[in-house]
């Protein structure tokens, strides 16, 4: 019968409409502006409203999420920043669009290179968020950030990240990527103890 197909289509959309109200009633207050409500709206059996109302509610990003890279520093005993980076250059070499510039540091007295960067630039207008730098850095010194709320009004002053802007404490890293951090720390501890064993054995 002509028109039957159209009615069926309308029935599908109508069901979607009705389900919205049913779900709202079912969840009640818990549905909006609560973490569990957001979680329910992204689960595989979500029905009804699908919208996450940014900026009041935010969809949590998974741990693996990558946006822009940042450099990790460890806080020294009197609060000074110790960059983990040794300016080995692997991240600059592996970066596909070549958006990392590293200036190595020399000891002012001896003139010999010391393993820390004098300057470190990332042009975020070129960076493709691929995560290779974080993946291949042998010192776990560069990692991918979760912060995506970085819109700006001027790119020349704000989109070339320098050492200052890139550096973030290791505690921040541990907070955004707890699993990765725990694994790395465990590996490091193991390596450290292996080395110690070696030196004592030798």
């Amino acid at each position: 019968m002509t028109g039957w197909g159209i009615l069926k289509s309308l029935w599908v959309t109508f069901k979607h409409l009705v389900v919205t109200y049913i779900e709202d009633l079912r969840y009640g207050k818990r549905r909006y502006f609560t973490p569990e409500g957001v979680e329910a709206r992204r689960s595989s059996d979500v029905r009804g409203i699908f919208t996450v109302q940014y900026p009041e509610e935010k969809l949590p990003v998974p741990e693996a999420f990558r946006y822009l890279p940042f450099l990790i520093y460890e806080e020294g005993p009197d609060g000074e920043k110790q960059m983990r980076c040794t300016s080995c250059g692997i991240c600059a070499k592996v970066c596909p669009p070549q958006c990392i510039w590293i200036v190595r540091k020399n000891d002012p007295q001896t003139g010999r290179p010391i393993p820390t960067p004098a300057a470190f630039y990332i042009d975020v207008d070129i960076c493709m968020n691929c995560g290779f730098c974080a993946e291949f850095c042998p010192f776990d010194a560069i990692k991918m950030d979760h912060d995506y709320e970085i819109a700006s009004y001027d790119r020349l002053s704000e989109h070339i990240y320098d050492l200052e802007k890139l550096a973030k404490p290791v505690t921040y890293y541990a907070s955004i990527r707890p699993t990765d951090y725990a694994l790395e720390e465990a590996a490091r501890a193991q390596k450290g103890s292996a080395k110690k064993a070696e030196t004592t054995a030798g």
Partner: protein, 579 residues
Amino acid sequence: MSEAVPRIAQIPNLVDLFPDKVQPDTRPGYQGYLVGREHLLEVVQRLRDEYGYDYLSSVTGVDYLPEGKMEVVYHLYKTLGGPALVLKVQMPREDPRVPSLVPLYRGAEFQEREAWDLLGIRFEGHPDLRRILMWEGFAGFPLRKDWREPYFEEEAKPFKSRWPEGFVFRAEDRNPFGDNVQYPPGFDPETWTPPDDEAIYRVLKRASEEDDLHADTLVVNLGPQHPSTHGVFRMVVSLSEETILDLKPVMGYLHRNHEKIGERNTFLQNMPFTDRLDYLCSMSNNFGYALAVEKLMGVKPPERAEYIRVMMAELTRFLNHIFAIGFLLNDLGAYFTPALYAIEERELILDIFEAVSGSRMMCNYFRFGGVARDVSPDILEKVRRLVYDRLPRKVDEMDEFLTRNEIVRERCEGVGVLTAEQAIANSASGPVLRASGVPYDVRRAEPYSIYDRLEFDVAVRYHGDIYDRYLIRLDEMRQSLRILQQVVRDIPEGPIMTGKPQYQVRVPPGEAYGRVEGPKGELGFYVVSNGKPNPWRYHVRAPSFINLTSLVDMARGAKVADVVAILGSIDIVLGEVDR
């Protein structure tokens, strides 16, 4: 099997068939045959007519600068299945001419134009040899090895200025114009007359005087900014009243120089760039490229990685198809409701991609010999819930929503028909080919990864109209779910990577063509290595690009309002068309 019956998987020995016209390619790591350019047409015609090589998959130009040669590489297939027959024509760099294969395979048309545009190889007998990705008047042939772009820094990445020199600059500041441009010496912009679009309009067929006296031909441009062209794509159509007489696609508005950049990148660095080809299906693109390079390197990923790869590729196919259907309906005028339903499902799949790879769209997930991260049990559980429960339900809902709808049927049935013969001749692939009644699927024709162990049917439909191209996507989504269910059931534990992850892979010299059945069709990567860290040639056989060859055949005789739906039913992504 008796000797007389040629087996499908057997490549005929061309040297026996065409003595003195064909030689085997004996360079180490290379395969196939070298054909003299004066014999090319004859050899190919016989291969097509007598040996069943009816499908021209890819045409690639290669510039071998050190040897002073240019080469055109042809990959021929049988639509019955089997491996590729690779033919090559070599020519001196000063005189790059080859006979065009368009008279034999219409599917060569765009690829030959591309080789002319980017490498300056002249295809004699080509009906419409104009630039395709760049504009007429552009100076030089950019893919030639001695052509340098304005921001040229070094032949190969990594650049020394980044490390160890630490010489910090912006590319703009080094260019005398402060921008990404260069001009021939002595060029005066005031005297330049831009070549207009007359060249396109001239080749359009118009209503001839005698058959219709009262109808004028009207030429209409759709795009590049048009809500229904799925991006920056332009079509020039000539109309007689409302009926389309002829159509010319104009592309290149998103030509991002993927191949030139790819030849400067190291092998691994190309991986995230492949994400941006068909940006809806980054996982499939990764897959094709990883296969090509793994072929060259001779590594095989471990079992678990293979399963993960197939899982990701099939999820990608699913989300691509549901997105395509949603937007096809948009093109038909169902303003956004189906698309919104489709995007909901896509978001749920993207959540999975984001959790495993870190990014929703640009997954950059495959590595040579494995994948980047393992899939954790709770993500696997999520996938399981999706593929067993939610997605089948949603496909059925789509089906119920659209398939029987009279408006959809009225607009789609019998419109934009592509016959099987046309589809094969035009080198169409993927759903477009299979909706025309040719059951050709790379996953079955030349199985890669673990597809030979998985149970699924090659979906096929026989009318070749928009409606069938819609239905075949539904069918394929169901088959994808079937594959996914097997994969999540059987996925073994184990390592996800052969060897250690490395940023500098050693790739022995040679060539390889890796192809996968992407959601849009056969996605091929032709990679030539000369043993250095960067590929010498890196070419993408983009299914969206080549499927567009069929657009003219589908659109001719249709109404102008239908061309939008026809384009939607081919399902193109401009990142892949223009690369």
